[in-house]
């Protein structure tokens, strides 16, 4: 039942067109019925709020009173709002540094955890454990580890003669501190990489070995290309997650001090939260949400497009 012409949308391949036989319709109905709990939830709690927030983004809307249509005013105000740019910059900093760094570190850890050594299962558990610590608890723990005077990190640094920074109290170090915190919880990404590494065909590695390829050459020419779809997946989900970075910054800010010191931890979602729930500017916050959605959408499409060049699908 496949249509021989390839169908594309924005350059992306679409599945072949379905021919609606009686059987296919019945299957669809049954499928939809089984999907209905999710479908209803999606329509009511995701799609509807999204559509409504799109409308609100063109209005002045606080909470209870009817929204007042102002056209593109919220968007214009946002572009003139210093805090909007600060929050976007802070977020881009995290996306640009924390995501690639996290990917690299996860990959290296996954390589190590894929080695055949005694007690490997134990190491794997150890590396995954931090991921199951609740975000709030992990963040508070890190605030202690990074305490400039009594924290473990600066104590160790002092032992090797380095005067550790003030971490969370210093605007230059607050984001690197949060990146460190993020690296600690990368167990999920490691596991995904590990499963990818175990899928790399042993025959290819062995063939390369016979041809005299050294470890680095095997890694570069076989392993990395073979796990490139995993890298792409981790990159996209990591990027989306980082654009929505909130919980850790909220815990560090402790409610009253969101964004401190000196707005260095004022991330996009934090400022959005402030506008929506503290300043009661729902229209403004909705406009922020839509700008974020568009940024993420464009970057994701771009990554998918560019990924054709560096992603290898063995199937």
């Amino acid at each position: 039942m496949e249509n021989s012409t390839e169908r594309k949308l924005f350059g992306f391949k679409l599945p072949p067109k379905t021919v609606w036989t009686k059987r296919a319709k019945s299957d669809l109905r049954t499928g939809l019925l089984f999907l209905s709990p999710w479908l209803i939830g999606f329509l009511a709690f995701t799609l509807y709020p999204m559509v409504v927030s799109f409308y609100y983004s063109f209005t002045i809307y606080h909470s209870k009173r009817a929204p007042e249509w102002v056209g593109l005013q919220n968007y214009a105000n946002l572009f003139a709002d210093d805090k909007f740019w600060i929050s976007l910059n802070n977020t881009l900093y995290m996306v640009a540094i924390a995501v690639p760094l996290g990917l690299f570190a996860s990959f290296v850890c996954a390589l190590l955890l894929n080695l055949k050594v005694r007690g490997q299962a134990f190491y794997r558990v150890i590396y995954f454990l931090p991921s199951i610590v609740p975000t709030v608890a992990g963040t508070i723990l890190f605030l202690w580890l990074l305490n400039p005077q009594v924290g473990l990190v600066n104590t160790v640094l002092a032992k090797v003669g380095i005067d550790g920074p003030n971490w969370m109290a210093d605007p230059n170090w607050s984001k690197p501190a949060l990146i460190l915190l993020g690296m600690w919880g990368m167990g999920g990404t490691i596991i995904i990489y590990l499963s990818g590494l175990q899928d790399v065909p042993q025959s290819l590695i062995e063939a390369a070995e016979l041809d005299g390829a050294n470890w680095f050459q095997r890694l570069w020419h076989i392993t990395i290309p073979m796990v490139s779809p995993i890298t792409l997946f981790n990159l996209i989900t990591g990027m989306i997650g980082m654009f929505q970075y909130f919980a850790q910054a909220y815990v560090v800010g402790g409610g009253d001090s969101l964004g401190r010191p000196l707005n260095s931890t004022l991330f996009y979602s934090v400022y959005l939260y402030q506008n929506a729930f503290l300043y009661l500017k729902m229209g403004y916050a909705s406009a922020m949400a839509w700008i974020l959605f568009i940024i993420i959408l464009i970057l994701t499409l771009l990554l998918l497009k560019v990924s054709d060049r560096f992603t290898y699908y063995s199937g």
């Binding site: 909470s63 003030n166 971490w167 009253d256 503290l278 300043y279």
Partner: protein, 431 residues
């Protein structure tokens, strides 16, 4: 799958969803719901409200503390709590402006609430023009705490706290100890420890960031510039990095290692709860310290005894099912006996004058009495709140950080805040 089967399954699905939706929250008209934004001890608060049940037979269900982000959806939804206790007056005005909470004159009449029994400063946090949009339920005030042992060690009279802001600066100098490597070992006074006290300093300099009637924004008034300049000198003197490095080693706020308890900071601005049973008497009972009103500037002795109240505000959501029931519960909460019981327990200041006379407050000791007496001071104020309080406070917080931590010029920084917020303020006030 047959059409019949499909139909049966669909009906079952819809029916089960409807049943789930209806069963989620049984509507019990005899239960009043109270949401409280603070509350370290939910069980104690529930037990307090159980007394209302004992008196009236009406069950009260307390949720404390309630998360900030649950409040707004509840107020805009169809099933808000019957009483909402906010941690500050700031939100009450913005909620009222949005039509989310009731103006309370009718409830005050229904509940026969004695408004003359309330201290004016905390009540002023609830006044919006001639309207009352919340009622204060317990409040806080800040004063100067000094460590008598450290005073003695520095050659100062341990029984004499500084009597002017200028003297405080001198004392702080004497009380600061610098180590051989230039790092700080003990600091006399950190103006924004444990959080901002600009409200207290600016009142001592004779102003605030709003005009007294709350109708104008005065973020760059001379009093504000003076208050921030006065604070900045401590950072300039000790060095920002030095002071931050020192402060970063402070122990937890509620622990025996808190910097004032541990003798790292000789003077601090703190609230009345510190002298209550959960703080100094429990965490550092041997601490030899005194408490007095924060001193005024030397050229304005008439400003002695200045305090700035900031406290809890009770509101009734617009969408409550039974306004009368809410009003009666509100009146019960405002009664002197209940105010005394709740705020003696927490060692916070009562908002009812009659409650302030209760023995339980006297039992909290002489130091607590310093705060109770200050409530009646002619220089007792409250933080002025407006519908844009939250946004304004965040902006002022950022300005304060820039001035203290980066050495930014107070006047220029505050001018920028004024320029940015004046239009927003006027719009919010409908001017």
């Amino acid at each position: 799958m047959s059409k019949k089967m499909f139909g049966v399954l669909s009906v079952l699905l819809v029916a089960s969803m409807l049943l789930t939706a209806c069963g989620a929250k049984p509507a019990d008209e005899n239960v009043l719901r109270v949401w409280i934004q603070w509350g370290d001890n939910p069980q104690q608060i529930q037990e307090l409200f159980d007394k209302y049940t004992a008196e009236t037979g009406i069950k009260v269900e307390v949720t404390a503390p309630i998360d900030d982000d649950k409040v707004l959806p509840a107020l805009t939804g169809s099933n808000p709590p019957d009483i909402l206790v906010l941690s500050g007056g700031d939100a009450a005005k913005s909620f009222y402006k949005e039509g989310l909470v009731l103006e309370l004159s009718e409830s005050i009449t229904t509940g026969n609430i004695d408004m003359t029994d309330m201290y004016e400063p905390p009540l002023s946090q609830c006044r919006q023009g001639d309207k009352i949009v919340c009622l204060p339920w317990g409040t806080d005030a800040y004063a100067l705490f000094w460590n008598k042992d450290l005073f003695e060690a520095a050659g100062l009279d341990p029984e004499k706290p500084p009597s002017t802001m200028e003297e405080l600066v001198e004392y702080a100098e004497k009380l600061t100890v610098v180590g051989p490597d230039g790092s700080l070992e003990q600091v006399g006074f950190i103006p924004n420890h444990s959080w901002s006290h600009t409200d207290l300093y600016v009142r001592n300099f004779g102003g605030f960031w709003y005009s007294d009637d709350g109708s104008a924004l005065t973020a760059n008034s001379q009093a504000m510039i003076d208050a921030l300049t006065w604070q900045q000198q401590f950072y300039t003197k000790y060095g920002v990095d030095n002071l931050q490095a020192f402060a970063s080693g402070f122990g937890e706020y509620s622990s025996p290692d808190a910097p004032f308890y541990a003798g790292k900071v000789a003077m601090m601005v703190e609230g009345e709860w510190q002298v209550g049973p959960n703080f100094i008497p429990k965490l550092k009972p041997e601490l030899n310290y005194g408490v007095a009103a924060f001193p005024p500037p030397a050229d304005h002795p008439e400003r002695a005894g200045t305090i700035v109240n900031q406290g809890t505000a009770v509101v009734i959501p617009t969408g409550v099912a039974d306004k009368e029931a809410s009003a009666k519960l509100l009146a019960w909460m405002m009664s002197p006996a209940i105010v005394a019981e709740e705020f003696c327990y927490n060692a916070n200041l009562p908002t009812s004058k009659k409650a302030a006379e209760a023995q339980c407050f006297k039992d909290l000791g002489e130091k607590f009495q310093v705060f109770v007496d200050l409530m009646a001071s002619p220089n007792a104020y409250a933080v002025i709140t407006t519908p844009i309080s939250f946004e304004m406070n965040d902006a002022l917080g950022a300005a304060e950080e820039a001035i203290l931590l980066t050495g930014a010029d107070p006047k220029e920084t505050l001018d920028a805040v004024q320029a940015e917020f004046e239009p927003k303020f006027k719009e919010a006030m409908g001017q």
